[in-house]
């Protein structure tokens, strides 16, 4: 389908929020031929009309931390199912981690991700390249060739870049592309055998612990390395109170450091592991109530400028294992909006425009991708959110191939209603969109 075939879409009566332009007002949004049109639209009849009264209309959400498992673990997720899961969560662009089998550490591997993303025609898929060859943490991967293949950032996520010398070189070398090095911050020697946060709960349950200090120490080290190199450092899935403080201090000193937080790290604590349910097993682990509070504080004061899910699907048979043998992680994309509403918006920690900023323009700028705004002429990636609808999270309805979620059965509020990617309606909750006919409201 060429661009000419893309319909003219009118989204009527929604609360348009675009933090990139400082917009927050009720009005119509027009889309034509894959682009956002200037206010006032066009002098032609819209082919598709979407009634957005009572709903939020915002730039398509961007999740810069997802695991799509392809190639290598297609039983957990494929690029197509992961990108479909993204749409169901209101996310129009994802950046996927390179910890696949084989890892994304060459130009060809990055191009494979791009191609599979295009074939899927769901959310936009951007590959993140590995920092080191084979993610072994020994030598730099071919970062320049990865960029040529479409990589938008670098990380060895799933594992940290433990070697300080290599991390330093990565931060230096990546400056020539102005791309960010993302780090899964953890001192590996301190987390051997760890299943959950180390502390009172792990002691009581007899489970191996991962101390908060394992994260704090790596965050401190890497901020210092970012300082001496001038490279761009991004702290992935920040989870401890001290780490948040370190990022705050680093920013105050003018160091190029950013951070992301995941919904599970601000909605759940290590007490959840008392159920011995592997759906609460993540890495970094669920921390204490004090850490959750600090992460929320960091989100409020802007220390943490990005929300990400760390979407980590695992097939049922893998998560049904004993706690120490089950893999880390949860399906994140499809619960992003409601968990954020429940833990950040409803208690009054953040407003909708603040949340949308952390899910649109901030990640877009971090990745240097031309997304995240409703500016006239921008790519027409739009998410319509029904912020008031209540629903029950039911993993059997997930579009992800996997079902591992700690939120099954939660009564929540807020959900993606319509998702448009590149000017094409690719997901609707409210019903089938027929050309020229407005779908029923609600």
């Amino acid at each position: 389908m060429g661009k000419l075939a893309l319909p003219t879409i009118q989204i009527t009566g929604g609360r348009i929020i675009d933090p990139a332009q400082g917009l927050d007002h009720v009005g119509d949004l027009w889309i034509s031929r894959g682009r956002i049109l200037p206010t006032g639209g066009v002098n032609e009849e819209a082919e598709v009309v979407i009634d957005a009264r009572g709903k939020i209309v915002c730039p398509g959400l961007i999740d810069l931390h997802v695991h799509l498992r392809e190639p290598g673990n297609e039983e957990d997720e494929t690029i197509a199912t992961g990108a479909a899961s993204a749409l169901a969560g209101g996310v129009t662009s994802v950046a996927c981690m390179p910890n696949t089998i084989p890892p994304i550490d060459t130009q060809a591997a990055a191009e494979f991700v791009v191609l599979q993303g295009q074939r899927a025609r769901q959310a936009n898929v951007y590959p993140v390249g590995a920092v080191s060859k084979g993610r072994k943490g020994e030598e730099l991967a071919a970062l320049g060739q990865l960029v040529a293949g479409g990589a938008v950032a670098f990380t060895d996520d799933g594992a940290p870049v433990a070697n300080a010398g290599l991390m330093r070189r990565a931060l230096e070398y990546s400056k020539m592309f102005d791309l960010v090095i993302m780090q899964h911050c953890q001192v590996p020697e301190l987390t051997v055998g760890g299943v959950m946060n180390e502390g009172f709960e792990s002691m009581r349950l007899g489970l191996g612990g991962m101390p908060a200090a394992a994260e704090d120490i790596m965050v401190a080290r890497d901020i210092r390395l970012a300082e001496i190199t001038g490279g761009r450092l991004h702290i992935q899935h920040i989870s401890t109170a001290r780490s948040v403080e370190l990022v705050r201090e680093g920013k105050a000193r003018g160091i190029k450091v950013t951070a992301e937080a995941c919904p599970h790290h601000f909605s759940l604590t290590d007490e959840c592991l008392r159920t011995f349910d592997s759906n609460f097993k993540m890495n970094p682990p669920l921390r204490t109530a004090a850490d959750v509070e600090a992460v929320i504080e960091g989100l409020k004061d802007g220390t943490i400028e990005i929300l990400a899910t760390d979407h980590a699907p695992h097939a049922r048979e893998k998560k049904m294992r004993e706690l120490d043998q089950a893999p880390f992680g949860i399906v994140g994309l499809e619960t992003l909006i409601p968990i954020t509403v429940k833990t950040l918006i409803e208690p009054g920690h953040l407003t909708w425009p603040e949340v949308i900023r952390k899910l649109t323009i901030n990640p877009a700028e971090l990745l240097r991708i031309p997304k995240g705004t409703l500016r006239p002429g921008a790519d027409a990636d739009v998410t319509v959110i029904d912020a008031s609808t209540t629903w029950t999270i039911d993993p059997t309805q997930f579009r992800s191939k996997s079902r591992n979620t700690p939120y099954a059965g939660w009564e929540v509020r807020g959900r993606a209603h319509t998702v448009i990617v590149g000017g094409e309606v690719r997901y609707t909750l409210g019903g089938i969109v027929r050309e020229g006919v407005a779908p029923a409201a609600g």
Binding site: R204, L205, M320, E322
Partner: protein, 307 residues
Amino acid sequence: MLGLEELSREEILAILDTAESFAEISNRSRKKVPALQGRIVFNLFFENSTRTRTSFSLAAKRLSADTQDFTASVSSLSKGETFIDTAKNIEAMGADVMVVRHPTPGAPHLLSQHVSSSIINAGDGAHEHPTQGLLDLMTIRKAKGRIEGLTVGLVGDIAHSRVARSNIWGLLKLGAKVILCGPPTLVPKAMERLGCEVAYRLEDVLPRCDVVNVLRIQFERQQGGMFPSVGEYSQFYMMNQERVRMAKPDLLLLAPGPINRGVELTPEVADGPHSAILDQVKNGLAVRMAVLYLLSGKLDARSPAAE
């Protein structure tokens, strides 16, 4: 029956009282009662323990149940088969009760969500070993006549010990004071939040203890390097004659087997007048009979014949 943390004080006392009455049966010449006739008790052991398995088997047999052992290491399960699959197969063979030993904390809890047989936790990693906790409580109560008000020292590798955790919950619920003593690498400070005292010098602790429970070093569950050498450990924490003399004259000494003689306690002390090690074994049988018997009441309640 997954752990002592979940049981109330009243439930623990009820089990102990039932166990006392079964202890009398063991003294009779005919040692069998028909309580579990027609029932099948499966010992599902994913970790070796001849002693605990034998004790459960014997307890089940004295209650006239049929018993069957299934022993496998987690790593020997055929590829792709989980221990849940294994348990479901065993349930399909008619198991009424599964006695589960597993190296992972929470494994019996996970199982209880997937099978409808009654599950008895026979030790899950470093988490709990409730029947061991109960038999220790029974041994203390028989020897001292009470538990409330006693000071009980748990010595050694607390961090990796399921026996310690079951003991702590049980002792605290029944009103004892608990002192945990060992090197700081094996006794997490966080344990104070459970309501225990944490101490590192055995000599400071011994004079205050009515009971000392000497725990085994869990070499298999440690990440290594928790203390410099076995020799150094013994130097600070081994119960020997000299240390026994520092304690109260009526000190009661417990040790959940198998003990490492010459590491946690000397042979003279293990076999000496303070030692209750063999009483523990005897009481273990009674406690396991009691637990199986009390569960059988629940089995009857759900069987069609009872309706």
